[in-house]
């Protein structure tokens, strides 16, 4: 699956409180959350972002709280993939679980500027910076996690497993 879009670039330690401030967590409606995504550090992000765009960031992206509202808000903004040097643990799980693709690739982050156009192949992990004509390959996921991603998230993955085991699930 190939993705194409524009880069919105950020630094290190972009935390869940700035991705979606807790004052908006009196709802878990993804569209409503998306309206406030990143507003405390980038007020224009929501107006600027287009479907397919990428967030590219340095280390420890998504640090802080366990709120799954953070990847939900990013996904509902239309962001197709987050590329970072490293991700915080809970954010990584949450993103895999809800089907927001993440790629870890330090070289691509270093070689990419705000506003660049990228083309990303999620299957191979190839990141092509069209603006600068450079190519990178991201770290691959363990096979177990690919299973969750292929199923479209943890709920569908578990539902299928429960069905196989003849437990619950329809």
């Amino acid at each position: 699956m190939k993705l194409r879009g524009t880069v919105h670039k950020y630094g290190a330690d972009v935390n869940t409180d700035v991705i979606i401030p807790a004052r908006y967590l009196n709802t878990y409606d993804a569209e409503e959350l998306a309206r406030h995504c990143m507003e405390d550090i980038d007020r224009d992000f929501v107006a600027r972002v287009r479907p397919g765009d990428f967030i590219v960031a340095s280390t420890n992206f998504g640090s802080g709280s366990s709120r799954e509202h953070a990847p939900l808000a990013i996904k509902a903004c239309g962001v197709s993939c987050v590329i970072a040097q490293s991700f915080a643990r809970i954010f990584f799980r949450n993103s895999v679980n809800i089907g927001l693709p993440l790629l870890e690739c330090a070289a691509a982050v270093e070689g990419t500027d705000h506003g660049d156009t990228l083309e990303v192949d999620l299957t191979s992990g190839e990141i092509h910076n069209i603006s600068k004509d450079r190519a990178y390959t991201a770290n691959s996921y363990p096979e177990f996690m690919m299973g969750i991603i292929r199923a479209g998230g943890l709920v569908e993955y578990t539902r299928r497993q429960l069905k196989e085991q003849g437990k619950q699930g329809t």
Binding site: A22, L25, N97, L154, T158
Partner: protein
């Protein structure tokens, strides 16, 4: 075999021995969620086609973040959780009987050493103070754990942190953990288990250990764990007194990293905006003027924390330039503080005392900051916008520093108000 984390995870999985990086299915002893994370977790569980939780006695829900409900939407979320908890017969606590989750669960004896606890809240790692493996997860993971009693985990590498020397006056668990995060950074323990030990830790009361384990997540850790000792056993005996298993690190335990600290000359620590790792000793912060001080939260809302703050505030006044807000961490903490006269001390000093709530810590309610305001708080995060306006500043510190600062109207060392 192995570190504390590896042994607990092995005892809760089908594997006899584990090594870091192994992907395993773990049986959970407690699944926790709150008014923010329970409603979406319930919705996800329904999508699984599962109608009953795996064991209602092991699923805990309580509204602590926006409680008592701050607006209609928060009330609706709390109601969704309450209805589900009643229908399923879960362990549930209502306003008037509750506390901040990570203070309440150990206090009620709901968490024991050797257990695996997953919670829809990143500070679930607090229970590592009891020698449990406890970690925060998102609502989809919580949904699966509630439905099946199991969740997948990657076995984390363990960092061993040893604290040597005698604890100086006014140095608390908060200072130790802020100092540690300042040293290793907000991703210094990313994906790892932190195992805390050393003679300074043996001296530390349980309240200080809860504070340290609570902030393991602020270094990116999956868990922060303490060895069970006499203090742990005494705490468990006084809170529930149920049987449990102790896991101690084995001689063959392999650590990813070992870090040694000498605490004997440590000064109280302040985390400057906007990261918990941006720490400086209090002597370099006394020029910072404040509009608000908050004493409370899952990090520092325990009775011992309130005792320290009240001892400093007794017979003194909160500086007229600031607001001081005290939030007891649970109804029991509130009642004990009342009986000990601490609440009277706070009120006479000119501090506001709140019902137990996460409230101001996450910028929910009960003490939101305006643009340009500066707050010193005993909470755990000082990110941009964390306690209100993105133009506000939050400084993190211990209850002792918070009380001294409330008296001085600026960041102050406890020594300044006791001399």
């Amino acid at each position: 075999m192995g570190t504390i984390a590896e042994q607990i995870l092995a005892s809760h999985s089908d594997s006899q021995s584990l090594k870091p990086g192994d992907l395993i299915n773990v049986r959970v002893d407690v699944v926790l969620s709150n008014d923010i994370t329970a409603p979406p977790a319930i919705a996800e569980m329904k999508k699984l086609g599962v109608t009953r939780v795996f064991d209602p006695s092991k699923v805990v829900m309580l509204p602590d973040h926006f409680c008592p409900a701050k607006d209609i939407k928060s009330a609706e979320q709390a109601k969704q959780m309450r209805d589900f908890a009643q229908e399923q017969g879960l362990v549930y606590f209502e306003v008037g009987r509750l506390g901040i989750e990570h203070i309440l669960l150990p206090e009620q004896g709901l968490v024991l050493p050797g257990q695996v606890v997953v919670g829809g809240d990143s500070h679930t790692c607090t229970y590592g103070a009891l020698g449990a493996f406890a970690t925060g997860m998102g609502q989809t993971d919580i949904a699966v754990a509630m439905a099946t009693g199991e969740i997948w985990m990657k076995v984390p590498p363990t960092i061993k942190l040893s604290y040597h020397g005698a604890l100086p006056l006014w140095i608390s668990g908060k200072d130790l953990i802020l100092w540690t995060i300042g040293d290793i950074g907000v991703d210094g323990a990313l994906y790892c288990a932190m195992e805390f030990g050393g003679e300074a830790i043996e001296e530390l009361p349980m309240s200080g250990r809860f504070t340290m384990a609570n902030m393991a997540i602020e270094a990116g850790a999956k868990a922060g764990i303490f060895c069970v000792d006499g203090k742990t056993r005494q705490y468990v005996k006084e809170h529930g007194d149920r049987p449990y298993t102790e896991f101690l690190p084995q001689a063959d335990a392999e650590y990813w990293k070992t870090i040694e600290y000498d605490v004997s000359k440590l000064e109280p620590q302040i985390a400057f905006p906007h990261l918990p790792s941006n720490t400086r000793p209090v002597s370099q912060a006394t020029h910072i003027e404040l509009e608000q001080v908050v004493i409370g939260s899952c990090t520092n809302g325990r009775l011992e924390d309130l005792r320290v703050a009240a001892a400093l505030l007794k017979g003194k006044q909160v500086h007229p330039s600031l607001r001081c807000i005290v939030v007891p961490g649970s109804q029991r903490v509130y009642l004990d503080a009342l009986r000990e006269g601490l609440i009277e001390t706070f009120v006479l000093a000119g501090a506001a005392v709140s019902t137990p709530t996460c409230g101001p810590c996450c910028g929910g309610h009960m003490g939101i900051l305006a643009a340009g305001e500066r707050c010193l708080s005993t909470t755990n995060r000082n990110f941009v916008g964390r306690m209100g306006s993105p133009q506000a500043e939050v400084y993190l510190a211990s209850p002792a520093v918070a009380a001294a600062s409330a008296i001085c109207g600026r960041i102050a060392s406890p020594q300044e108000v006791t001399q």
